[in-house]
Symmetry: C2
Subunit: 712 residues, 2 copies
Amino acid sequence: MPRPTHYVTQISMCDAQCTVRSGPEQEECDDKMSNDPLVVFTPSGKRGRFPVGTPILTAARQLGVDLDSVCGGRGICSKCQITPSYGEFSKHGVTVREDALSEWNSVEQRYDEKRGLAKGRRLGCQATVQGDVVIDVPPESQVHKQVVRKRAEAREIVLDPSTKLFYVEVNEPDMHDPSGDLERLRSALESQWDLTDVTADLHILQTMQPILRKGDWKVTVAVHLGDRENRPRIMNIWPGYYEGTVYGLAVDLGSTTIAAHLCDLQTGEVLASSGVMNPQIRFGEDLMSRVSYSMMNAKGAEEMTRAVREGMCGLFTQIATEAEIDKALIVDAVFVCNPVMHHLLLGIDPFELGQAPFALATNGALRLRGDDLDLNIHPSARIYLLPCIAGHVGADAAAVALSEAPDKSNELVLVVDVGTNAEILLGNREKVLACSSPTGPAFEGAQISSGQRAAPGAIERVEIDPATKEPRFKVIGSDLWSDEDGFAEMIATTGVTGICGSGIIEMVAEMRIHGIVDAPGLIGSPEQTGSNHCFQDGRTYSYLLYDGSADGGPKITITNRDIREIQMAKAALYSGARLLMDKFGVDSVDRVVLAGAFGAHISTKHAMVLGMIPDAPLDKVTSAGNAAGTGARIALLNTAARAEIEATVQAIHKIETAIEPRFQEHFVNASAIPNAVEPFPILRSLVTLPEETFNTGTTDTSCGGRRRRRRA
Amino acid sequence: MPRPTHYVTQISMCDAQCTVRSGPEQEECDDKMSNDPLVVFTPSGKRGRFPVGTPILTAARQLGVDLDSVCGGRGICSKCQITPSYGEFSKHGVTVREDALSEWNSVEQRYDEKRGLAKGRRLGCQATVQGDVVIDVPPESQVHKQVVRKRAEAREIVLDPSTKLFYVEVNEPDMHDPSGDLERLRSALESQWDLTDVTADLHILQTMQPILRKGDWKVTVAVHLGDRENRPRIMNIWPGYYEGTVYGLAVDLGSTTIAAHLCDLQTGEVLASSGVMNPQIRFGEDLMSRVSYSMMNAKGAEEMTRAVREGMCGLFTQIATEAEIDKALIVDAVFVCNPVMHHLLLGIDPFELGQAPFALATNGALRLRGDDLDLNIHPSARIYLLPCIAGHVGADAAAVALSEAPDKSNELVLVVDVGTNAEILLGNREKVLACSSPTGPAFEGAQISSGQRAAPGAIERVEIDPATKEPRFKVIGSDLWSDEDGFAEMIATTGVTGICGSGIIEMVAEMRIHGIVDAPGLIGSPEQTGSNHCFQDGRTYSYLLYDGSADGGPKITITNRDIREIQMAKAALYSGARLLMDKFGVDSVDRVVLAGAFGAHISTKHAMVLGMIPDAPLDKVTSAGNAAGTGARIALLNTAARAEIEATVQAIHKIETAIEPRFQEHFVNASAIPNAVEPFPILRSLVTLPEETFNTGTTDTSCGGRRRRRRA
């Protein structure tokens, strides 16, 4: 097997052996400097001249072309597959003859028989240069593959995982020169892979000796490549060439749900995604009630820590079972979460987060081991927690910043992660500001009289007919509007059970558009509104959306108190954003990104009618889905992104809304629908909002004084 | 309180502020360069000029004088006590007036009232320079105190522990500039103590917040200062100024006993020393039987690992109870042990150590955490295992090398750690060689017909009268010889129960000196020897040392088989040493150090008569006591020694006796008493050894063929 025994040395000798150039403009120079064949790699365009007989893998390494190999060029792993191109390439100034590469050799033949080599493919470590040649490196043969991500505006994910596989041949022990098996394994990694200063976990020391002998001193090791706190470290070891892979978890630890993506660290592929309810819910639905629980109960924080860790272990078992993998092969995990969950996960009492000045125990990124957190994955799996931005702006917001990268945007972008506490980022390449705002759970359907979670039977969309003022709606689980034929059959099993967050937003916005709610937030009388869905309900009016009482179902009404809840929630959201705009010195933003599962379901037009978000062209308001989860996945798959987000978070300007005098003023203004002072010109060019008010002097239209700090 | 708020900055400005000189020859220069008062520190001799009003602590820091402080000059810790001297100092060229230092201030007064300041002492952080002054830094005020060690030839121990205490004042949290409590604590450590990149254990994060608040943002932290694998790390935190200390353990994990010294890491003092039997003894007395146990029993190695860790935890509880300290304050521990114990402690199956090529899982030093080894001390106590030298030459031998420092010796020194496996080091500044030799347990009284462990009742010394050839002996527990008056009363409670290792060595040597045993190792007949203590015992003769049968006690006899056991043991020891001498290219050594508890008890003259050790002047043969334990203590108290011994071990030339052809030849020669070929001229100038042999042709006098590999 014509493998370079010490290609590392060859790489360091690269300058002496080959001429490295990029692009055809260098061609003449290439030609003049040597008579060796020219090798051009695509898509990189890297090119150089190499002596006849040089393996393509060697040429790639010398040129710094990204061509994978786990076995180090021994013809075992097949990761270095390449596709030679033949014929005339005027672009590259090269003519490639049929015999530009060596004939198939026995290694390729054997590999093809055993596993099949796709037509046109060669093994880069076996095929050697015989004449000028153009070599295409297919995406799957690249180490730093790009991980597929659909959204054009979001950052690319280039695979660069913490842990990689390396096949090595280790010297046997020698009584004349005694050294430990680990030390010989380390020197093999150094001489064969240029990996220096590698250490090993204790459990590797405990299992390594029989594995080395079983593999006849040939083993595959998974090496965590190290980070700012840790040296490179052997995580797993297998006898011979290991066909498998190692895994990582991107975990979004929310107050309500814990969601995880299981990723293949060699391909970046998401193999399974799964979620469970956060078992802490039994200690309190929202975060502040959990903080209270820890204050009221001596061992409360400990109990909650145990609960969330157990929940996580359950999730990991579930996801590993689904993907049919061994949990012990999960060697890396990235966690994102809000500050309270962050502390509870770590076993830190969140007491201080419940009161000003909301001091975090630590805001920095954390690098831990799986057993530090009692996780049931690889015992010394490397755990990475993204940094927190501030006492109310957690690692989840940092993950959103990583995913949505406002710091890399030329446009001024407002990123809003809508939850029971909204995290808000505003920025561009110049600077990024962040704050959180206590929206409360109204956007999730909580504290709304007919509200419910988004689940089958929940009203999720609402329209009011401009002419008849009759409402119609859609229910989760049905594609039909409530006034369409077959709707009743469609919802026969679920019924109409309530109204969820996106439904209530559309409902209130439609009521505002059609003159049923006025700008200050009062529901009018049937006379004022011209809708007999309005009815007197104590001192105010309510709106009957759906009456299922004939069939034993609920009456779904919107009370004036519901309107107040939505007003407060959206005012909190808007005034946070507006405060950041003040601090940035702008009155408008170029685009708005709605993150969070909720953001994916709301109608941007209706959100803007409500005045939840600043006035912007509707096509500039996009949904990022679970951006925090995506951020976790980026940090998992691309280790460089970890240092990057740590620097970004450090540079973010943190604004504490609680101590900003203007926040209160913005909040009062923003409690009007859409806003008492902001003009919203783009919105008003699209929608005409009635100007009349229903205030008869008997009801209180202000809700600015009822501010709470709530989080979830 | 006149404390320098940022003395670190002052240090960096030092060159501009003061004139740093050493020794009186610089005096003229000092005088010329400034009119500021001159401060001379003793014993360092460091001197410099400082503006009036400079605290002595500040002057000391600027000059690099070793003056301790935990509170950073706040007048709290009293660690910086100094003694000013007054009058004429011609040596220093200084006259010190009575007002050379500032008056006692209120801080000193208060301190004196509360705790008492010894006469003549001042607090270095309070007393300020007013005129030329000579300041003595007493040993207890030095950070790098010298730890008392009695033996002149052994290396000094300069205190430089892994973990030190620092008092800091931390900024309070600020909503305008949110940061974690840990981050503010870190910046306090950086600005007040110049400690950078400090991290914290998870349990610190879990407990830190209430402690910071309880201490009103003043805390004392114990910081592990980091090592080649770890960043500096906060290990403990206390509110306010912490009066206590933190502790370290130096553990000598032997096959038979586990011994530990508990040390105060601030003073270097040994607070308690204790030992327990190694609970692994139930799996086999010697190491090879433990290796066999692990081979024969599927979970054998695991069982033994659990046993030794439990035994260790028991010992730690015992030693902490004895010293009345909290085990959780034990933040550092250094372990030394032979390779089999090393592997069993770590949970590595010692299988490979039981067969050629005796491959260690790892020979490097290890840095672990307490919980990696299930220890019951500080959960993340830093654990340091010294490197192993080779498959038979463990971390215990490395510790002996650290303690006895052959690599720092001008003389060629042979260091022998006598146990059931002897580790042998030979070297000087030029180079050091190491090997191990399987002496077996005969030197511990095992495999000797009347042998026993060294315990009350055991014969430990023997003399034979040259004229009468009558033996007399001493027994452990009695100061009298057996022929002295009162001996019977003295031993009434213990009786005479057997003969221990040092006893059997003296016995055999005395028998050789007085013509009862010949050079090949045969006991002669009463006729041949002229001693009626010899008697026919099967095919050979035995020697009756003591007959207690009249009182129901034992008959203590030395059989010819006992002589054979001692011959084999001593031949193994000598031939290992001789092999190293060959490799070094010498025929003699300058001095011999006997390490190990056993080494402390044997008579050097008798050892040399036996030919255990090479011929050398008797005053050049010294005992080092438990040098392995001392080495552990050095590595515990002086962290620089860790890197040093790692480099030393790397440089040691390892000799594997099993594959050295000359070893066998040396062994055969060395089975004669003292040796068949070596002349031993120094010995023979002191003692005349009879030349007659007792071989009648009927017995086998060779024992060279019966070589075993045994270890303990």
